[in-house]
Symmetry: C2
Subunit: 114 residues, 2 copies
């Protein structure tokens, strides 16, 4: 048990903060400068940079510097491992119910000796 | 920005740990006693109980005590808010590309004055 998937853990940790999720939502509309991402948050720049660094380490955003402006872009495929994990859980869960259904059907087909 | 959704944050935080994800995977196969969940982890019982308490606080599992045995059950609908958030992100991203496509089509339809 507890097979370690550092990428998935990093991704889910990055997504677990509401400020970071809001930044990602903003970036689905197109790339943005750090100052534009910071503006609606009322947070100080060092805090914003720390959030962006968590998102970048998880592979959710890419940043590039053009002169004095640092611009952030969403990496839309980065959520794929999370989708993959959730689909896997759902498949295991559905398989369990299929097995339960088979079991109930067999019980119903078995002649009742009572 | 940064609209707070404590349930979603709790859920994603609970999912961000590999031991907790492995426990959930085990529970997709059916309910299990705490000792059965602990066995493959080599972790001490207090650590296991802490992980289970994070999963329960996020609504991902339900626990019940029958005599001296505490049993854990998956709450399969608990992942719905995570799916909802991811679908929302994808829809925003796809809407952005639809707008870009419309823009490019309009540019191509505009007579070239050069």
């Amino acid at each position: 048990m507890a097979k370690h998937d550092p990428d998935l853990s990093l991704l889910l940790h990055a997504l677990s903060d509401p400020t970071r999720r809001a930044m990602l939502s903003r970036l689905t509309k197109g790339p943005a400068a750090v100052t534009a991402l910071a503006a609606p948050t009322r947070l100080r720049l060092p805090t914003i940079l720390r959030h962006l660094s968590v998102l970048e380490a998880a592979g959710l955003i890419a940043t590039a510097k053009d002169g004095r402006v640092r611009s952030c872009t969403l990496v839309p495929t980065a959520l794929d491992p999370v989708r993959g994990w959730m689909d896997e859980q759902r498949a295991q869960w559905e398989a369990r119910f299929d097995r339960l259904e088979d079991h109930v059907m067999k019980l119903m087909e078995t002649p009742d000796d009572c």
